[in-house]
C-alpha cells in the first residue's frame, strides 16, 4: 500500500483551490465588477449610475433612454451606456447564456438640486424597467431628503428612526452602511439621511434608502440630493417631537 506524501497532498490541495478560483474568474466576471459601476468615471463631477438588472441589448438601452428623456438634473446627451452591448437583432439570434444580463447606464448630473430619484425610478418603471442600484459618485458630502405625503404622528416618526437603524444593522450585505444617521423633520414631512464621506472613486447606492423607506411602509413623493448649508454632524441633529421622539438618536444610529 502506498500513501500520499505531504508534497503530493500540498500540490493537490493547491491545484484544487487554484482551479476553483480560476473557474470562478473565468465564468463569473460579473462578481468582480459588482462593487462599483461608476468608479472609472467618478472623477468628472457628480454622476449617477443606474444599474439595471436587465439591460441586455441596444433595444433595452433605447427604452431606458426614452424613459429618462427630459429628466431634470441629468444630462442624458452625455450619458454613457454599456460597451459591447449586443444589438437587438443579434440578441434575437443569440442562443448562449450571458454571464450577466444586467448593465449600467451612467448619467452625468448637471443640476444636483433638480434631480429627483423617485422621478427617475418611476420613469423607468413606467417603461417596464427597475433600477437595481442607483449609485451616486463625485459628491463627497451630501444628504438625502425624502419628502413624504404621510407622516401624521409621532409614532410614524419613531418607526422611521428606529427601523432605519434596524435595517442598517441587519443589512448582511453591507446595505445602508453609507448612512451616518437618519432624522425625521415632522413639520416638513421629510426624512433626512446624512451620508458618510464619500471617497473619490467610491459610490453610494441610493436605491437602498428608497427601498428601505418602502420596506418601512412609506412611499416618498420625492427623493433629492442636497449639499451645503444644512450639513451637520449627525449627533448635532435636532432632537425633539419632530425628530420622532426617539430617546437617543445617537445610540440608535450608532
Amino acid at each position: 500500500m502506498t500513501f500520499a506524501s505531504p508534497k503530493q497532498i500540498l500540490i493537490l490541495i493547491a491545484l484544487t483551490c487554484l482551479g476553483l478560483y480560476a473557474l470562478d474568474y473565468w465564468k463569473n466576471p460579473q462578481l468582480r465588477h459588482s462593487g462599483s459601476v461608476a468608479t472609472a468615471s467618478s472623477a468628472g463631477g457628480p454622476r449617477l449610475a443606474l444599474w439595471m438588472n436587465h439591460l441586455c441589448c441596444t433595444g433595452c438601452l433605447d427604452d431606458v433612454r426614452k424613459a429618462l428623456a427630459g429628466m431634470p438634473g441629468v444630462d442624458l446627451e452625455k450619458a454613457t451606456g454599456p460597451r459591447q452591448l449586443l444589438t437587438q437583432p443579434a440578441a434575437n439570434l443569440q442562443n448562449a447564456s450571458l454571464p450577466d444580463y444586467g448593465n449600467a447606464v451612467e448619467l452625468p448630473i448637471s443640476e444636483l438640486d433638480k434631480l429627483d430619484l423617485v422621478a427617475v425610478d418611476r420613469a423607468l418603471r413606467d417603461k417596464g424597467f427597475v433600477a437595481g442600484r442607483m449609485e451616486l459618485s463625485g459628491v463627497p458630502h451630501f444628504r438625502l431628503e425624502a419628502a413624504l405625503d404621510h407622516l401624521c404622528c409621532g409614532m410614524c416618526d419613531r418607526s422611521i428612526n428606529e427601523r432605519m437603524s434596524f435595517l442598517k444593522a441587519r443589512g448582511q450585505g453591507g446595505q445602508l452602511k453609507w448612512i451616518e444617521s437618519v432624522s425625521v423633520e415632522h413639520e416638513h414631512k421629510t426624512v433626512v439621511a446624512y451620508a458618510r464621506f464619500l471617497e473619490p472613486g467610491k459610490t453610494d447606492d441610493l436605491a437602498e434608502f428608497l427601498s428601505g423607506l418602502n420596506y418601512l411602509g412609506f412611499e416618498p413623493r420625492s427623493l433629492r440630493i442636497a449639499i451645503g448649508e444644512h450639513m451637520q454632524h449627525p449627533l448635532e441633529a435636532p432632537v425633539g417631537p419632530g425628530s420622532g421622539g426617539s430617546p437617543n438618536p445617537g445610540e440608535l444610529n450608532h
Partner: protein, 406 residues
C-alpha cells in the same frame, strides 16, 4: 461507581434536553425580526471586564460547569478504581457487574470490549467516510456548493455541480481517497471567496479529509472500518474545534443567531439555556439566549476537541443533531447526517485520548509519592486555568469589537 454514575446520569439528563441548541442556522431562516440591544454586546464602562452583567453571569456559569467536568475527568482513574473495587465488588456479580463495568468504561472514555460496540463503531466509520457524498449530491441538486446555504452562480453552477458529483463518486466507491481529501481541503480553502465566516462555518467539513488524506492510494482495495489512533485524534480535534469555533461565531455574529430565534421562537424555551441563563435580566432575554446558546456549543466543542468525556458530550451532540434534523427543522437540516456520522465514529471508537492527559499523569505521580495536597492543587489549578482561559479570554476580546454592522 454508583455515585459517579448517578452524577453522570444527572449531568446527562440536565444537558440532554438541549433540543435546538446546535441549530445550524445557515440552513434555516435567520432574518432578524426585532432589533437587539446592541449595547449588550459592546463594552460596558465600569463593569468587571467591561462586560454586560448578564453576559458575565452566563460566562461564569459556563466556567464553573467546565471546571467541574475537568476536575472529575482528571480524577476519573481514581474514582473508577475506588468505585469498582471498593463499592461494587461486594454488591454486584455476573452480568450486572460486567454491564456496569462497560458503562463506566464508556462514560470515562476507556476502551469498551463488547462485540456489539465494535460492530457499531465499524459501521459508524463506514458511514462517516461515505456520508459526505450524500451531502455533496444534495448540494449539487440544490445548485449549491458543499452546503445548501452557499448557492452557486448560475454561470458556473454546472461545472461546480459536476466537480461535486465526481468527488461524491470517489467517496462512495472509496477510490483514490487522498485525492478526495485534497479536493475537500482545496474546496474549503476556496470558500474564502465567500468570506472568513463561511470558512469557519465549514471547518467540520475538514474532519473527513483527515481520514481521506491518511488513507492509501489503493483505498478501493481495502475495507476501512476502523480509525487508527492518530486518525481518531485528528478527527476529534477538527470536529471539536469546528463546534468550538461555531459557538464563538454565534456571539460574534449575534444578529444571525438572534434571527434563528426570531423565526423559530420555540428554540428559546430550552432547559439547558435556562440553566445557563438563570438569574439574568429578562429584559435581555434574546441577548442572554444568544450567549447561553453559544456557550453550550463552545463547551461541547471544547470537551470534544480536548477529549474530556468525549463519549458523553459526543452522545449528546448526536442526539441533538438527530433531533434537529428529524423534529425541529426538518428536511432542510438533512446535511447533519455528516456531523452525526463523524461524531458516531468518535463516540464508538475505542481509541479515545485526551489532550490534557499530562494533568492526569501529574496527579497520579503525586499520588504515588504520597502528596495528596499536591494532587488536589495541581488538578484544581490546571482545571481553573483551563476553564477561565477557555471561557473568558475570547469573550473579553469580543467586547472590543463592534459587530453591530454585521
Amino acid at each position: 461507581m454508583r455515585r459517579r454514575l448517578v452524577f453522570l446520569s444527572a449531568a446527562m439528563l440536565t444537558l440532554l434536553p438541549v433540543t435546538v441548541v446546535y441549530a445550524h442556522e445557515r440552513f434555516i431562516r435567520h432574518d432578524l425580526k426585532v432589533p437587539l440591544h446592541e449595547q449588550y454586546f459592546a463594552r460596558q464602562p465600569g463593569m468587571f471586564l467591561g462586560m454586560q452583567s448578564d453576559m458575565l453571569r452566563i460566562a461564569t456559569v459556563s466556567c464553573v460547569l467546565l471546571l467541574v467536568f475537568l476536575v472529575i475527568y482528571f480524577f476519573r482513574q481514581n474514582l473508577d478504581v475506588f468505585i469498582e473495587q471498593r463499592l461494587l465488588s461486594a454488591g454486584l456479580r455476573g452480568r450486572a457487574q460486567r454491564a456496569l463495568h462497560h458503562l463506566a468504561n464508556f462514560l470515562t472514555d476507556k476502551p469498551v470490549r463488547l462485540p456489539s460496540f465494535r460492530a457499531v463503531g465499524e459501521w459508524a466509520v463506514v458511514m462517516f467516510i461515505r456520508s459526505p457524498a450524500l451531502v455533496l449530491m444534495y448540494s449539487a441538486t440544490n445548485d449549491s456548493l458543499v452546503m445548501p446555504s452557499y448557492p452557486l452562480e448560475p454561470t458556473s453552477a454546472l461545472y461546480f455541480k459536476y466537480i461535486q458529483v465526481f468527488l461524491a463518486i470517489l467517496m462512495l466507491t472509496q477510490t483514490a481517497l487522498p485525492l478526495a481529501g485534497a479536493l475537500v481541503v482545496g474546496t474549503w480553502l476556496y470558500l474564502w471567496r465567500y468570506g472568513w465566516m463561511v470558512v469557519a462555518d465549514a471547518i467540520p467539513v475538514l474532519t473527513v479529509a483527515v481520514v481521506y488524506l491518511t488513507s492509501p492510494w489503493q483505498s478501493h482495495r481495502v475495507a476501512i472500518t476502523e480509525l487508527n489512533e492518530q486518525q481518531a485524534r485528528w478527527v476529534r480535534l477538527v470536529l471539536g474545534f469546528g463546534f468550538f469555533a461555531l459557538g464563538w461565531l454565534k456571539i460574534y455574529n449575534y444578529h444571525l443567531t438572534a434571527g434563528v430565534a426570531d423565526n423559530y421562537p420555540a428554540v428559546m424555551d430550552d432547559p439547558m439555556i435556562g440553566f445557563f441563563a438563570m438569574g439574568t435580566n429578562p429584559l435581555f432575554r434574546r441577548e442572554n439566549w444568544i450567549v447561553a446558546f453559544a456557550f453550550a456549543e463552545v463547551l461541547s466543542g471544547f470537551m470534544l476537541m480536548m477529549g474530556i468525556f468525549t463519549r458523553v458530550w459526543g452522545s449528546m451532540m448526536i442526539w441533538v443533531l438527530a433531533k434537529l434534523m428529524l423534529v425541529n427543522f426538518g428536511f432542510e437540516e438533512i446535511p447533519h447526517i455528516y456531523p452525526i456520522a463523524a461524531t458516531m465514529a468518535i463516540v464508538f471508537s475505542s481509541k479515545a485520548g485526551s489532550e490534557f492527559s499530562f494533568v492526569e499523569r501529574m496527579q497520579q505521580k503525586a499520588a504515588r509519592e504520597g502528596k495528596p495536597w499536591l494532587r488536589i492543587a495541581s488538578v484544581g489549578a490546571a482545571s481553573l486555568v483551563i476553564a477561565v482561559v477557555t471561557v473568558y479570554a475570547l469573550l473579553y476580546a469580543l467586547t472590543f469589537i463592534d459587530r453591530s454592522h454585521l
